[in-house]
Amino acid sequence: MFELSPDEWTAVKLSLRIALTATAFSLPLGVLAAYALARWRFPGKFLFDGFIHLPLVLPPVVTGYILLILLGRRAPLGAFLADHFGIVFSFRWTGAALACGVMGFPLMVRAMRLSIEAIDRRLEHAAGTLGANGLWTFALITLPLALPGVMVGAILCFAKALGEFGATITFVSNIPGETQTISAAIYTYTQVPGGDAKAWRLTAIAIVIALGALILSEIVQRFASRRLAQFE
């Protein structure tokens, strides 16, 4: 019963690759955006904040469609990236990773922003008067103190990316071996006669992976609160 067929196995591996890629590329951008929102004052901050949160409130299909309009092969931006950098998103697994990253981004930024805002600014000032410039202060003080929140944000993004369906299928369709993630595969199997057993197996795997991510984030949270308790 629990022997995975090659195409199921492909979907699982692809899902993990897409989710990991999405998280890895979102991470630095997420930290930067969270830091900007937590610490900087700049014109249009309100709009920037709203823009980042857009994928959270928009229907995923709309987000996927916007990506398609912007980055499809015939779209100006998509064509430009393809012609000059050889980067193609549409109907590729990279596009799936992009869609997943976009969908997971607001969750990631929220968690990171909260943990950066919780850091006493006077510690950063103290580092400054001791000779550390902005970058050093960030690297030696802000980032280490925000690390638990950063990790939680990354795990949330990973979990979201793993389960993403609407934006992905709209943007890069549902191509086995290229863009067919676990979610898309389950959807496909439920649409064909006799696909129930396959759908069940993938469902079980999805549950295991999701639980694993949850447990991991719980461990990180506990570790973080223990460390914080040690600080005070």
Partner: protein, 364 residues
């Protein structure tokens, strides 16, 4: 050494302060009087609307010339009221943080010497979360000092400590100042601390300087009201230690006006000391008292009487040769004794009100 002239408007608080100092300086005033703003301006945490700040011949701020040295380039160490140690680093890493950023050629202050002076060698492997208040503050002072600053700013460094720790840390600060030759800008609302450090004082009120000069001058006859609080009014009497009465555990301090007795040991015979005497601890008598428990009696003359419509009056008594003492009393007592300026009078001080904590070693 320090030339400071700056103005800034923070909400409804208008701040405009100018002072100069050849070496260290104490900034004195109530909370909200602008002392901490001064620290923030010198450290580079605030940008003045207008002003010039020069430390050690280096222009840190000049608004007209559009000079504003960022805080990490100022080489000005800050010790905050609540230490602000980095919680994720060990004590050793905290101490070395600023040292690492200091230019190699300017690392004038030795790690071991600082550790030894501050007595924090046994804490190096620990994290700040597990330290006591006094230990934290000592580490914070060490951290600032090890960045080899040109100037050390201390913003109420003793405020979070209990009385015992206060004396302990204050002694260390004196030792550091004299041993490592770092000028200190010391912010406090405590006359005792300011008197003890004996640096020139700048007195703040509502964002402006209301008095400046040597400690004895500034806290001299009726020049400064230390807040409206009569309990904060003190005077400083300088005397010389005659010796210790071991049988009674008292120190005898000689003064031209009489003998001051002090509880506990205060130092070696012959050394000069400043005794901080609260105005509320001083009683006056028109005759030399007898049959009283009072041991410390100083003869002097009434120099000035301050009284308003309230029930209290402050009497400044000139002591022979030099110095003065302020006595706080009711207006009723003033009238019944018939005190007038120039009258000979005796200041009575309860010896139990004085102990070694009221002692300030004379400035260098």
């Amino acid at each position: 050494m320090i030339r400071f002239d700056a103005a800034i408007k923070l909400g409804t608080f208008a701040y405009e302060v100018a002072f100069e100092s050849a070496a260290g300086v104490s900034l004195f005033g109530r909370s909200g009087s602008g002392k901490s703003v001064t620290i923030a301006l010198i450290a580079g945490l605030l940008r003045p609307d207008r002003g010039v700040i020069v430390v050690d011949g280096r222009v840190l701020v000049d608004t007209e010339k559009h000079i504003f040295v960022p805080k990490h380039d100022r080489r000005v160490g800050v010790v905050y009221q609540d230490a602000q140690l980095f919680p994720h680093l060990t004590v050793r890493q905290n101490l070395l943080f600023g040292r690492w950023f200091a230019p190699r050629t300017e690392r004038a202050i030795g790690f071991d010497a600082v550790i030894e002076t501050l007595g924090i060698g046994h804490l190096l492997a620990r994290r700040p979360g597990r330290l006591s208040g006094g230990e934290r503050q000592r580490v914070a002072i060490g951290r600032a000092l090890l960045s080899s600053p040109r100037l050390l700013l201390m913003d109420e460094p003793l405020a979070a400590l209990d009385d015992e720790r206060k004396m302990e840390v204050l002694t260390l600060i004196e030792r550091l100042r004299d041993g490592f030759k770092v000028p200190i800008v010391y912010v406090s609302h405590s006359i005792d601390e300011v008197a003890r450090l004996a640096s020139p004082v700048v007195v703040f009120s509502a964002g402006h300087v209301v008095a400046a000069g040597a400690v004895d001058e500034v806290f001299g006859p009726s020049r400064v009201q230390a807040g409206e609080n009569r309990f904060a009014r003190s005077s400083i009497v300088t005397g010389r230690i005659v010796g210790m009465n071991a049988g009674y555990g008292l120190t005898e301090i000689g003064h031209p006006g009489g003998t001051i007795w002090l509880v506990g040991a205060a130092g070696a015979p012959g050394s000069e000391v400043r005794v901080v005497i609260k105005a509320t601890d001083v009683t006056v008598s028109t005759e030399r008292p007898q049959h009283l428990s009072i041991r410390t009696v100083l003869a002097g003359r009434v120099a000035a009487i301050e009284q308003e419509d309230g029930p209290l009056a402050a009497v400044t008594i000139d002591l022979p040769v030099h110095g003065h003492i302020v006595a706080m009393m009711t207006r009723m007592a003033l009238d019944e004794l018939g005190l007038v300026a120039g009258r000979e009078i005796f200041a009575l001080i309860k010896t139990v009100a004085l102990d070694e904590r009221g002692i300030a070693s004379a400035g260098k």
